[in-house]
Symmetry: C2
Subunit: 199 residues, 2 copies
């Protein structure tokens, strides 16, 4: 700890610098900015973080992150039953939701199959996906995985498991090779969803 | 507020996106990351922010931000008396401190003179600087202002006020035209400080 500010301020800067997208310099800037906007920014942020730290949890059904055991999407009666959109990550689910186009429910895998990292179906939420297809009477599954090698390997594995049991499709037009959903604009995701092709 | 996560999580993302260097996308990533590292990141960050929100204050003497009315630098008996380094912003003071080269004390102006934005000497901490030169028996003032038009205008104004009363110098070699201190590496700042030229 240096003499120039104070232990707590230094510790806050150090911890902010660990957030993705921030480094030491931007963490220092952010902390000074927050201290200057104490009532508007620092105190509300502290309160919100405290509250989210207590309340945030994974949806037991789909893996989305929310503040209840069953997330708002799974709990909503407005969402089309019978349709599941499978994504790798919560950030991808949120990216899909921002398009407002998909009216069904989601299933978050929590990653992709990877022989290199010893990630098999059991490490992902694939068994739970198979369960849901049966127990929720799913008739259509959209595989909205990233257009990466691991993403596509995972999509093929799931397609094999579900073949003949449901209508399967994957995002098509508009997803660039090597592209990751969370980096795409909403129009591109919408186009890819609308032009999804059957497997 | 959307249905896809929860009010508190959405509010946290929205507020994080207001921090300098973060946008909506990086705020979403940061929040998901924090939720996943709840015990290591989210809870400690909330605690530190709460503590800093209560304790952070401007040093009454120099304008540095710390957690006491008189900052660690002003309070330290190890710092050379008689020498003041004048900077625009707290971030610049911290940048100077990281070099470890300057052994005197600081004076933070809180900005630069600007006719356009109606910032006169009274809006900055210039009167307090003149006071300190007298009351602290300052014999040398280093003007470490940014190499911008406003920074140099401000340096000239201060030099006029203090002329004949103290030895004046400004950072020289190594500060690029239009450059801002907080963007420079520590070696460049050190070189500029060591090669400071008398005005
Ligand atoms: Zn859910
Ligand atoms: Zn001070």
């Amino acid at each position: 700890m240096s003499e120039h500010s104070s232990q707590d301020i230094d510790a806050l800067i150090e911890m902010m610098a660990k957030l993705p997208g921030l480094g030491p310099r931007s963490a220092r800037r952010a902390v000074l900015h927050m201290i200057r906007k104490r009532a508007l920014l620092l105190t509300p942020l502290a309160d919100l973080m405290q509250s989210v730290a207590v309340s945030a949890r994974e949806c037991l059904n789909c893996g989305n992150i929310g503040t209840s055991d069953i997330c708002g999407i799974c709990a909503s009666e407005k969402r089309a039953t019978g349709m599941l959109c499978v994504v790798e990550d919560v950030a991808d689910l949120w990216a899909m939701e921002r398009t407002g186009v998909f009216k069904g429910r989601y299933h978050v895998l929590g990653g992709t199959l990877s022989a290199l990292d010893s990630v098999g179906p059991e490490q992902l939420r694939i068994p739970k996906l198979i369960d849901r297809v049966d127990s929720e009477g799913i008739s259509e599954v959209i595989l909205a995985l990233n257009a990466t090698v691991d993403g596509q390997t995972t999509a093929h594995y799931i397609a094999d498991q579900l073949e003949g049991r449901v209508q399967l499709s994957s995002l098509a037009q508009g997803v660039p090779i090597g592209g990751e959903l969370d980096y795409l604009d909403e129009g591109t995701i919408t186009a890819a969803l609308n032009a999804r092709k059957q497997i």
